[in-house]
Symmetry: C2
Subunit: 300 residues, 2 copies
Amino acid sequence: MGPPERAGALAARRDRRSRAARRLNSLPIGVFDSGVGGLTVLRALTEALPQERFIYLGDTARLPYGTKSADTVVRYALQATDQLIERGIKCLVVACNTASAAALPAIRARHPELPEVGVVDPGARAAVAASRSGRIAVIATEATVRGGAYQAAITRLRPQAQVQSLACQLFVALAEEGWSEGAVAQAVARRYLDPLFDVPSPPDTLVLGCTHFPALLPAIRSVLGQSIAIVDSASTTAAVMRELLAQRALGCVDSQPREAASPLPRVQFLATDGTARFAAVGSRFLGRGIDERDVTLIDL
Amino acid sequence: MGPPERAGALAARRDRRSRAARRLNSLPIGVFDSGVGGLTVLRALTEALPQERFIYLGDTARLPYGTKSADTVVRYALQATDQLIERGIKCLVVACNTASAAALPAIRARHPELPEVGVVDPGARAAVAASRSGRIAVIATEATVRGGAYQAAITRLRPQAQVQSLACQLFVALAEEGWSEGAVAQAVARRYLDPLFDVPSPPDTLVLGCTHFPALLPAIRSVLGQSIAIVDSASTTAAVMRELLAQRALGCVDSQPREAASPLPRVQFLATDGTARFAAVGSRFLGRGIDERDVTLIDL
């Protein structure tokens, strides 16, 4: 093969590789949650990554994960991950605190090639950045608190931190009912939070360690006042995903605006049960209306 | 065969039949619920039927049923029924309003030989007996309300009845959290019940159409006052089961007291997830302590 032929072969191989890369890069980002709470994370992702497409899977048939055992949560999370990989994703966001805490190691072990981000480490990072005193309170589901993942993630970043964790199951029901403000939300917030903060040296930072809880921010803020920093995982998780896409050169490479480049919807919704309820309750968490016809019912 | 031989053969056959009947009659009664709420029904059953043994199956891995679609609830209820039949039961109590409303016809169709009782018809019967005006309010889960089963069961018994139904999801979370009294429970009860009862011609009867709700009776009573009749399905369901056992001659026939007659436990508990949580939260609904070691983890 003479020099011109060799140059041509090399160019063709480069071309094939770049076509393959473009195909991979144009795949959506998979987002997985036990239900609709993870839509608060999806919202931050769509804002931070305007070029990207997403598939969101809500395992609504088996929610809540927050009261289930770790073994069960791991099994469910692996099924959801397999389903998203089968449909074609370039990376994964586990947008459920309970599943992030319990199942990320198992997901990594089964799919070492898949770039993935949970919500616990980003939430811990946001807490450590916000806290001056190092006294940090975490509110989450029973399963997340029991697993101690936030405690571990925060003290990895700041070994002297004093972390207190509290399960606040009723906040989940309140957020799903849409009762995020008013007398009931405040009474619940007071009952949960007073014992944590009404003490001589209270925490200076509160981590909302469940994706449902940002919906209750007004009630929580009214109980805690302005001096406590309140952080959640959504925006930090989106920032971590942006870094990851840049590091792995996985960003969507279409030079045209996404809408013009692709006939596919920006976000595809999958739910394992109750598409009408997913659309109705999910709209509150996503911050924009979801049409039930855009939600596909799947079986895991 | 001469007369003495024939008499002997007949006696032997009668004996075999009566041994088979005794075997059937000594089987436990199966009780199925989505989680721990049905333990309020089990409690009434154990009180009303002191000779009987019970197997209670709580599908804790997949609770709550109350926000799931009817198709999914039917599938889960059939799996639970099959599991109980496999373990040997003489009849079935579907101690979950959502599953009673959605799945009893499917259970009957698959197992026409199995005597079974749900909790909706007994609850409707109790309501009709208690109401003078015929204005009846039903509070239940989303799925029970959506299916309209109480409405249908009450108007079958009393065609002129005016039935209003309301989904009260937060009551489930409150009961599970053990917050059955105090400021939060009262604020929630007020928010749900005032629009139903604070009207010119209010209902005179309230049906607690979810097995979790009897736990909240003090808060509900404090909001409604003494003039409203409050009924639930537990004791009526136990009475219906007692009648059914008598009609079918299925009662336990041991003449000795049950404890002496059988080395088996009075109640066997099965849960599909979280035996520790089942024991801890379940004790509140059963009204006596449950030892975690008496709860068997099963997979459906």
